[in-house]
């Protein structure tokens, strides 16, 4: 439903998006994951036809966005990041305007507006001026707009940003419910969001696609973690012991954070296979070597670490590249 081939976008010398390729099929909910400024919104804007790519091809619903822009956009429900709306219109007026603009046939237009408003949970504010709505409601009016006309492709740029936890849950369940009827691409910088709603994820960093895979594969990346161990004793000896344990990929001394004189903090990292057992073995080895263990804190890799891991992997030629 969405086919992207070697997509690039440059602003002068700055490459915002570089050589990105992927596909999204009907029935898939794909998370587009990346830190702020990675090129997520730029890519989605190109998919929606708002920005022209510097190079590459985009097909939406079988139509090339450059050659048949109107047909391609007709297949697409797009919700921009900040969900910009006309403050002087009432919600129902706005959705009716958008439905007409999207060529929803006149005889079903009223029902379609009603359905989208109910789905996005904005039916209770249908007669309220958009300018008077809270951010959460505006966000969902934008979502209702994207749902109008049941387009086969949905592109949602950070659909849950600015919502409270209940609203986030509702929006996620809506996306899940709709997953089978559409090809959905949602962008986010929250890993748990992808875990909650998506069947597959694309990870973008500095304009490049650095990984793609199912949620299980992503979870494995996340399990690649380690521990921080505060020890008392000789730091070189402690490092030696820790590095000697099978499964430890990296061990180093965090010089900044020694809590007490005479103690050091060791940071150890191990691969996805080992898990907490490796930490256990490191602690056992340290104790056996006569080094006092004061504190052990398991450390889950943060999203930033996953990203740095992924971009490092790319430089070593380990990334999977496209989808």
């Amino acid at each position: 439903m969405i086919e992207v081939e070697r997509l690039s976008k440059s602003y002068g010398a700055f490459r915002a998006v570089s050589d990105v390729s992927f596909h999204v099929e009907r029935g898939e909910v794909v998370g587009f994951l990346g830190p702020n400024g990675a090129g997520k919104s730029t890519t989605l804007r190109m998919l929606a036809g708002f920005l022209g790519p510097t190079a590459g091809r985009i097909r939406v619903g079988g139509h090339d966005i450059a050659e048949e822009p109107l047909l391609a956009r007709q297949k697409l429900g797009y919700m921009p990041e900040t969900s910009p709306l006309y403050p002087e219109m009432r919600v129902r007026e706005y959705l009716t305007f958008r439905a007409e603009l999207k060529r929803v046939p006149r005889r079903v237009r009223k029902d379609e507006v009603e359905r989208a408003a109910v789905d996005a949970r904005v039916d209770d504010v249908a007669e309220v001026l958009i300018g008077h709505l809270s951010k959460g409601y505006r966000q969902r009016v934008g979502l209702a707009d994207a749902l109008l006309g049941a387009p086969p492709v949905l592109i949602l740029d950070e659909p849950t940003a600015g919502l409270d936890p209940n609203q986030i849950r509702e929006v996620r369940s809506l996306i899940k419910r709709r997953g089978s009827e559409h090809a959905i691409l949602i962008s986010t910088h929250i890993l748990s969001e992808v875990e909650a709603t998506c069947t597959r994820a694309l990870v973008i960093a500095r304009g490049r696609l650095v990984a793609s895979g199912t949620i299980d594969e992503l979870r494995d990346l996340r399990r690649a973690q380690g521990a921080r161990i505060t020890v008392r004793g000789d730091e070189r000896r402690a490092l030696e012991v820790a590095r000697g344990v099978r499964g430890v990929e990296r061990a180093s001394v965090e010089d900044s954070s020694a809590p007490l004189p005479g103690t050091v903090v060791l940071a150890i990292e191990h691969g996805a296979e080992g898990g907490p057992e490796v930490t256990e073995e490191v602690v056992a080895a340290l104790v056996k070597a006569g080094i006092g263990v004061r504190e052990v804190v398991a450390r889950a890799a943060s999203l930033e670490q996953v990203f740095s891991e992924l971009t490092r992997g790319e430089n070593e030629g380990e990334s999977e590249g496209g989808a």
Binding site: G49, L51, F97
Partner: protein, 249 residues
Amino acid sequence: MRGFWPIFKRELFALFVTPLAWVLITAFLFFQGWHFYIIVVNFAAASGEALGDTGPVQAFFGQTMLLYLPLLVICPMLTMRLFAEERRSGTIETLLTAPVGAPAVVLAKYAATLATYAAMWAPTLLYIVIIARTGEVDWRVVGTSYLSVIAIGAGYLAIGTMTSALTNSQLTAAVLSAIGLCLLFLFGLGEFVFPDGPVRDVATHVSAWTQMNDASRGLVDSRRLIYDATVVLLPLFITVRAVEAWRWG
């Protein structure tokens, strides 16, 4: 022209649910009412022989500066929000990702201001009715005068539409188009200033003053209508290209 009709309706809606259009129309009608009043009082005071064959309708449309002055201010204010506001608030993104082409967007927005402009003039027909009850009205003059007023305004609004697409500040858009319109108008007055030669010919050709003066005597010069059409089409064409160019920003 997919998308023309819904955008046209929304623009009219936006103009009339906010105070802007009402304020502009009210100010315009106050001004023209005062203008018409002065003319009628003058005609009532003057004796028949001093007037020649000029009537109050001719004077209203063809012989005073007061006809144009409000247009130079009101046209830029009618058009200033068209694109500038959509770009400032970001709604342009939802608009341009809907299945509509740039020409439809530009024409629909422009047409909405033109319709508002026409609505603004409509109540002045009452002046004609008042004159018709007390004297004779040359309906040909009325026809050509309104045609010219609409033709000149159409050009002014097209220029305003263009400047609104060139900036994302309403104020800048309004100031730019007001400056442009004033320069165009002043250049037209050059026909009374410049010595004989090509510059004066051009000035005469673009002169709104002469166009209205002719119209107030029942004359419509097809060359002027072609000029008016140019002033409408060229800015609108540039606007369409500007809207298309945003994709490549």
